[in-house]
């Protein structure tokens, strides 16, 4: 049978087998495992069948807790069931995993192993999640490469049915889950052969069934629980042997042989590294390289980690072993060592103690940690571990891959040590997210992998921002199998797809001598050399690079490709790399284009073809001249930045964070706020420019700006005398201002993302040219220097006195300083304007609990974070606990504040009674009215006075009071998160917190979809919208969260949409915060996952309200207390059809292209729902208030 070679990533490999061998998949999205569920869902959506000829049922739950419950239930009723998860998701499954294993239930959970959040969240890979499940009774089977993922998935599935022990089949998150590799896809016949139907029938037979009723899940008592627990031992004893048998059977079918422990390297090795996961590949590559050079080294790859077969383990080690280093990709703080190390120690000791040790003497054993959170693990590091074993006194409990200058655990290593063959093609490609570089590279790997004999590998690195993000693709091709599970260190082909990167990144750092360098430059072949930074010119000369350039954007524009230069750069890559013969390559690119874009229309295929045809004529070889360019800036941050930012943050911004030693890291995950201001990203091609002559000073642009790059101030005109030449100001409008006061609106052009929302919301039109507004887009580069100076000057101007502003108006609120700025959110983000508004209104007293999701990523993802401080050093204090617990986490904040305030008042009262504090001051503090900002301000001053006095009082109670007196001033507790949190995973907690009556403010940033993980349906997704797990359009309507909250009667509820009614939004925020109980604001947030022109996001918000989809309202229980109807409907009856709003969005429109009939049917229903929703609210708002009882 010919082998079916495919180029796919680890997630797809796992999902392929899982989908073929199960009947039910119950899942919940979590990075980096989401794609497995998405693949399964996509395949089921098009009717792909499993090997028994039926389409598996793929169901999305509300959390991993829910998914594991559904899995447990499906298993208990006899379905072959699986799930996919990682990290915190796996942890949420642990309770059910104990049950599933305790009940000896056959299943495989596929896990793309990811760091468990500790001092910080990380989406990247290590084994801390898998290790946390060691106690559950699940077997743990590791796969080290993409091919192994597919193979082990099947071996696990076959073994679990016979063993009755459930399996976690795991592989490294990102490194393996997202690495694209050429592998052999298992044919259905192989899968069929491996799956024993009799075992499947037995599994079904064990299912709960009223025709043969049993009871499972009893409550047991001290008399029998223990004995019952010991009944399972025989099953665990047999499992290793069953797994090996399945591996052997698999080897016969495919030729790929696996063992519970696989040894590679010198047969007479004395030094052995023991490791599992993708790191084993790098270790194998290194060991083989060193062994070939005569070193007696080897690697033992652990595959079946649980149940741990001591027998197989000892037998797998070479008899000559003298020293062992065990490498763990996890950390167990406070333990005697990491888990694999401890298991190896105990296995060898047991064997030694029983006299069965087959070695000359007990080997030396050391253990160490590597690769936490996808930290690189390279041959240099592996070599340093082997080297450590040669030392007489080897370091134990070491780390490798970092510099630990505090505990001195780290091993030194040679970063330039290379173990792989020189005839491997190693290409690195620097691109922008938006330019399609990654997509094109995935395409290239497919072409080379599937059309040639070469082995192929691709790995992609993304940065932490959602706008203007850089991507780096690492591609390897070679005749031999590729084991290099780490980034390319010496590239022989380098492509820079964006000229601007040359300014900020050390693009050629990893170029090998004589490499080819392809640059996309907006310059002709004659001028490009002189435009290069000096450092780049020097490297080209020094490393003798073959330098080629193309103006790809020009070609893209000429061929209708817009900014997507992917096809053009891909063509150049094939032309220069010589991996394929040129004409053959072009033919293959075209056939790939047809495959990729064919379904979207001939137009798309045609324009891509044209791009291919025009590329090579525009590709030029450039001969180096003298290095005459301007030097790059020495530091990436301003001289004015604080020391920590210059020292630590700047290094991270420059992409050199790996070089930071332990001593530079905050010890407990606590980082300074206000750091985005130092990261000048300059990502906008065009930025807004203010026209002071026609501006009406409504401040709507400031409100709508997602990145807080537009600010206004009113100040004494006298201050303009030192203003830079191009700084603008004009007479301030409004009677509340003095004659000497002027108004300036300033744009931070270096922080702007160029989204154009400001221009869209500007209500002014130039009378002589209506296409011009009071704010207009202009190219950034010519403005950069002058506007940088203007911004600096503007920031030095005093902030407007808050007491002079009407906070409950758009105009007034937008002169308040934003304490949330320059986040990494998408250009045109619909969430951040709300977040920013809250920071303007309440920032100096806010403490924020932020659910995991977009807002926690743009709010807290390093290197720089957007929450900042005012001139007094006050500002929001922010934390992210988890995804599921955010409401409870925030309520915890409230509990502390309330408790300590109460205790503070008790202490104050006692001290007052004893005459230790000024009675009048104490009285004023205790009876302070803090419902508005002046009240809070006065209380702050009183408490400062009290604190001053308390310092002089010699009384323990005074000291106690001093430690909590800050809580005598009102604090504003905010609980923020997206709809995935509020409607789904965190709903139970949110509901409870709302029901508690405590004074918390909940802000739900409702994008109606899981945005951060890439568009999966949530319970906020409306009927008819397409999302992942709702590919056929969601068949049920979104949950009415506001209505549910209103049912309590004592919860303030507002539904807002800034683009529909900004004044209502501002009022709702003010009312919610002022309400002395629980408040919830549900804020319509347009999103990139809606498939809209983000510049028109606010118009979509308006349409959402005008069509009845998103009625605006405020429900204030205080009005009920006053005898009024608490519900105020702020929207007018629908004036437009729902479809007028919906069909501006790809999430609705694409269904008309994929399933036209269904789209029509759903749209009819959606129209009715929108109308009924408004009618329902309208009726409620018009009810007469209940007469007082």
């Amino acid at each position: 049978m010919p082998k079916n070679m495919v180029t796919i990533d680890g997630n797809e490999a796992a999902a392929h087998v899982a989908h073929k061998t199960n009947e039910v998949c119950a899942i919940y999205p979590i990075t980096p495992s989401s794609n497995m569920g998405e693949w399964a869902d996509a395949w089921s959506a098009v009717g792909k069948k499993n090997i028994w000829g039926t389409v598996p049922d793929v169901v999305e739950l509300q959390s991993e807790g829910g998914a594991s419950g559904a899995v447990h239930g499906a298993l208990q009723t006899g379905a072959l069931t699986t799930t996919f998860t990682a990290s915190q998701g796996l942890l949420l499954m642990i309770p059910n995993m104990f049950k599933i294993a305790g009940e000896l239930t056959s299943t495989v959970f596929h896990v793309s192993a990811r760091s468990v959040a500790t001092h910080a969240l990380s989406i990247f890979g290590d084994h801390s999640d898998v290790m946390a499940t060691r106690g559950t009774g699940f077997a743990l089977l590791a796969a080290n490469s993409v091919q192994e993922v597919m193979d082990s998935a099947l071996i696990a599935q076959a073994a679990t049915l016979e063993a009755r022990v459930p399996f976690v089949h795991f592989f490294d998150g990102f490194r393996t889950s997202h690495e694209v590799m050429k592998i052999e896809q298992l044919d259905d016949s192989v899968i069929r052969e491996m799956m024993d139907d009799e075992l499947v029938f037995a599994h079904r037979q064990r299912g709960l069934n009223p025709n043969r009723p049993v009871l499972r899940g009893t409550a047991q008592n001290p008399d029998v629980f223990f004995q019952s627990r010991e009944t399972i031992n025989a099953f665990y004893d047999k499992t290793p042997e069953i797994v090996q048998r399945m591996m052997d059977k698999f080897a016969k079918l495919t030729g790929r042989a696996y063992h519970l422990f696989d040894y590679v390297g010198a047969p007479d090795a004395e030094r052995v590294v023991i490791i599992m996961g993708s790191g084993a590949e790098a270790a194998q590559e290194t060991a083989e390289y060193l062994a070939n050079a005569g070193e007696k080294v080897g690697v033992l790859k652990v595959r079946l980690y649980r149940p741990f077969s001591m027998d197989h383990f000892i037998k797998a080690l070479p008899k000559t072993v003298k020293s062992i280093a065990v490498l763990d990709r996890t950390k167990e703080a406070g333990g005697p060592g990491e888990p694999l190390y401890l298991d190896v120690v105990s296995a060898l000791m047991e064997s030694f103690a029983s006299g069965d040790l087959p070695f000359e003497k007990m080997p030396k054993i050391i253990g160490g940690r590597y690769g936490l959170s996808s930290k690189e693990f390279t041959p240099g590091m592996v070599k340093s571990v082997f080297d450590e074993l040669t030392k007489e006194k080897s370091k134990n409990h070491f780390t490798v891959g970092i510099q630990d200058d505090v505990g001195h655990t780290s091993l030194d290593y040679d970063p330039d040590f290379s173990a792989h063959e020189e005839d491997v093609f190693r290409g690195m490609f620097y691109g922008l997210g938006a330019d399609g570089t990654v997509g094109a590279n995935k395409n290239s790997i497919k072409i080379i992998g599937e059309e040639t004999e070469f082995n192929a590998q691709g790995y992609f690195v993304y940065d932490s921002k959602k706008s203007g993000s850089m991507t780096v693709s690492h591609l390897r091709f070679g005749k031999d199998p590729i084991h290099s599970t780490y980034l390319i260190n010496k590239a022989n082909f380098l492509a820079c797809h964006q000229f601007v990167f040359l300014e900020t990144q050390d693009i050629l750092e990893r170029a090998a001598e004589g490499a080819t360098f392809l640059l996309n430059a907006p310059y002709g072949p004659d001028e490009v050399w002189n435009k290069l930074p000096k450092e780049i010119q020097e490297t080209i000369i020094e490393k003798k690079l073959n330098f080629y350039t193309i103006d790809a954007l020009k070609v893209a524009k000429e061929t209708g490709m817009g900014v997507r230069i992917n096809t053009i750069m891909q063509t150049c890559f094939f032309a220069l790399s010589g991996v394929l013969e040129r004409d053959e390559a072009i033919a293959k690119i075209k056939s790939a284009i047809k495959k990729t874009y064919g379904s979207k229309g001939d137009e798309i295929v045609k324009k891509n073809f044209e791009a291919v045809d025009h590329s090579l004529a525009n590709l030029h070889k450039i001969e180096p001249k003298a290095a005459n360019g301007a030097s790059r800036k020495a530091s990436v941050v301003s001289d004015k930045a604080p020391a920590f930012v210059k020292d630590v943050t700047a290094t991270m911004i420059a992409g050199k964070g790996d070089s930071l030693p332990v001593s530079k890291m905050p010890i407990d995950g606590t980082w300074p706020t206000g750091t985005t201001q130092w990261e000048k990203r300059n990502i906008a091609a065009e930025v807004p420019v203010w026209d002071s002559d026609i501006c009406i000073q409504c401040n709507k642009c400031i409100l709508a700006c997602p990145h807080a790059v537009i600010r206004a101030k009113v100040y004494d005109e006298e201050l303009t005398k030192d203003a830079p030449d191009t700084f603008k100001w004009t007479k301030v409008r409004g009677r509340e201002w003095q004659d000497n006061e002027v108004y300036s609106l300033q744009v931070a052009v270096e922080d702007c993302t160029g989204c154009e929302i400001c221009v869209d919301v500007c209500p002014v039109k130039d009378k002589t040219n209506v296409s011009r507004k009071a704010i207009n887009m202009e190219p950034q580069i010519p403005l950069r220097e002058t506007e940088r100076a203007n911004w600096d000057f503007f920031m030095e101007l005093p902030e407007v006195d808050r007491s002079r502003l009407k906070h409950d108006t758009v105009k007034g609120s937008q002169l308040l300083q934003s304490l949330f700025e320059f986040s990494g959110a998408c250009a045109g983000c619909g969430e951040t304007p709300y977040v920013k508004l809250a920071s303007q209104l309440f920032g100096d007293r806010m403490v924020i609990a932020n659910a995991t999701g977009c807002s926690s990523i743009y709010g807290g993802n390093l290197p720089t974070t957007p929450w900042t401080k005012n001139q007094d050093g006050r500002g929001p204090a922010w934390s992210n606990s988890l995804f599921e617990d955010n409401a409870e986490f925030g309520m915890g904040f409230r509990l502390t504040i309330d408790k300590q305030r109460a205790y503070g008042l008790e202490l104050l009262q006692a001290l007052q009674a004893d005459g230790k504090v000024d009675a009048q001051l104490a009285e004023a503090i205790m009876n302070a009215e803090q419902s508005d900002e002046p009240g809070i301000h006065e209380q702050r001053e009183r408490v400062a006075q009290l604190e001053k006095a308390l310092k002089k009082v010699d009384d323990q109670r005074a000291k106690q009071l001093l430690s909590i007196s800050e809580n005598l001033v009102k604090k504003s507790v905010w609980i923020m998160g997206g709809d995935g949190w509020a409607y789904d995973i965190g709903y139970g907690g949110l509901d409870h917190v709302l029901a508690s009556g405590r004074d918390v403010n909940v802000l739900v940033l409702d994008t109606e979809v899981y945005s951060n993980t890439g568009g999966q349906a949530s319970k906020a997704t409306p009927l008819g919208a397409v999302a992942k797990f709702a590919a056929a359009g969601k068949p049920v309507n979104k949950k009415d969260l506001g209505m549910m909250a209103m049912s309590y009667g004592n919860v303030y509820v507002a539904q807002v949409a800034m683009g529909a009614n900004d004044a209502q939004t501002v009022r709702a925020f003010m009312e919610a915060e002022a309400y002395p109980g629980p408040s919830i604001i549900i804020a319509y947030s347009h999103c990139i996952a809606h498939g809209i022109n983000m510049a028109k996001g606010m118009q979509q918000q308006k349409l959402a309200a005008e069509t009845g989809h998103w009625p605006l309202y405020r429900y204030n229980p205080q009005l009920a207390a006053e005898g009024q109807n608490p519900l105020k409907l702020d929207s007018k009856p629908p004036t437009r059809h729902f479809s007028e709003y919906a069909y501006n969005e790809t999430r609705y429109k694409m269904l008309t292209k994929s399933m036209p009939e269904r789209a029509k049917m759903l749209m009819e229903q959606a129209e009715k729902i929108a109308k009924n929703r408004y009618d329902h609210y309208s009726k409620l708002a018009n009810l007469s208030p209940e007469p007082e009882a």
């Binding site: 990075t31 997210g433 229309g601 990523i857 951060n1012 890439g1014 992942k1028 990139i1088 694409m1150 994929s1154």
Partner: protein, 329 residues
């Protein structure tokens, strides 16, 4: 009463052909039109820009933001197949052909040659009985001459005629320097009928928002005078079928145009306003008028008042203009 006429080579049982409009989007409505007496149907137009736009839009939004951020490498499930504008249209032709017995004339609206030839052929394959080409070309380019514009029409016509065997008509705008000469050129290049005229979409300005308001105004009977004159001229000079497509609301309107020389009097606004059943009403009124005025057939009526057949041809031309102006004094 014999109401039958000939158009694009079809023997039609009467001249009241529903012209391109959204009514043909629903199979049921087309059946109702047939039942009401429609002798043929011109389908809604497949717009060139729409196809380009939709394909590009879908591609743009499905790829926008992808492969940029590690947690969200895409935002939408990608179906294996999308129904594209042209496919949908072809499918609709098949459905209409299966549902009705009258000729189905497909309509293509665009300005470029490339893809159209292909679409025309596919429409023929899908079963269209005829093809109406609507070259909606609004020249705003100062460098573009009238000759180059006319040439574009001719090129499209020749290209399409070279690809299909079914009859091809062209729907024209009235804004040609020399309409008769241009019409002759089309006839010489094999056009099977001319539909007069295309009503350009005419934008309006919203005085409050200072924005251009897209608005579609339905025609009124008054507007038939423009085609009336030109049909009277062309029917006298050219051997080509003529369809009148503007301002036909009543039997009187239709009769006037037939007198001037139209072979079909196409209806759109009146049907949109009054529903498919309106055709029956107009037909009945037409029969009544013909009876009353002792005509035997529509053929007898057709062109009986064209430029050649009226006593005072100048009444259709400048003299009439002068007379009317004088009357206003």
């Amino acid at each position: 009463m014999r109401l039958n006429t000939k158009y694009m080579g079809f023997d039609l049982k009467n001249p009241l052909v529903p012209s391109a409009s959204p009514m043909s989007r629903e199979v049921d409505t087309v059946k109702q039109l047939e039942d009401a007496g429609a002798p043929a149907i011109v389908m809604y137009s497949l717009f060139e820009e729409q196809i380009h736009h939709e394909a590009n839009e879908l591609d743009h939004f499905l790829s926008y933001g992808t492969d940029s951020f590690a947690e969200a490498l895409s935002y939408f499930p990608e179906p294996e197949e999308f129904t594209r504008g042209p496919d949908e249209y072809l499918e609709h032709i098949r459905k209409l052909k299966a549902a009705v017995d009258i000729p189905v004339i497909a309509s293509l609206n665009g300005i470029s040659i490339g893809g159209w030839i292909d679409h025309a052929r596919k429409m023929e394959e899908a079963g269209a009985d005829g093809l109406e080409l609507n070259v909606y070309l609004l020249p705003s380019d100062l460098e573009r001459t009238s000759e180059s514009i006319e040439k574009r029409y001719v090129d499209i016509l020749t290209a399409v005629k070279g690809k299909v065997k079914i009859p091809v008509s062209m729907k024209l705008s009235p804004y040609f320097s020399s309409l008769p000469a241009f019409a002759k050129r089309l006839v010489d290049n094999g056009v099977d009928a001319l539909a007069l005229f295309n009503r350009f979409y005419q934008p309006d300005i919203d005085l409050e928002s200072l924005e251009i308001e897209p608005s579609v105004n339905l025609s009124s009977s008054d507007e038939l005078r423009l085609p009336l004159r030109w049909i009277a001229v062309l029917s006298a000079e050219l051997n080509v079928d003529l369809g009148a497509t503007t301002g036909v609301h009543t039997a009187e309107d239709a009769i006037k145009l037939l007198l001037a020389g139209a072979d079909t009097t196409m209806m759109c606004s009146a049907l949109l306003k009054n529903g498919p059943g309106h055709i029956t009403q107009v037909l009945n009124d037409m029969i009544a008028w013909l009876d009353e005025h002792e005509y035997e057939s529509v053929e007898q009526l057709k062109g009986s008042m064209n430029y050649r057949n009226i006593a005072d041809p100048e009444a259709l031309m400048r003299a009439n203009y002068m007379k009317i102006l004088n009357a206003y004094k």
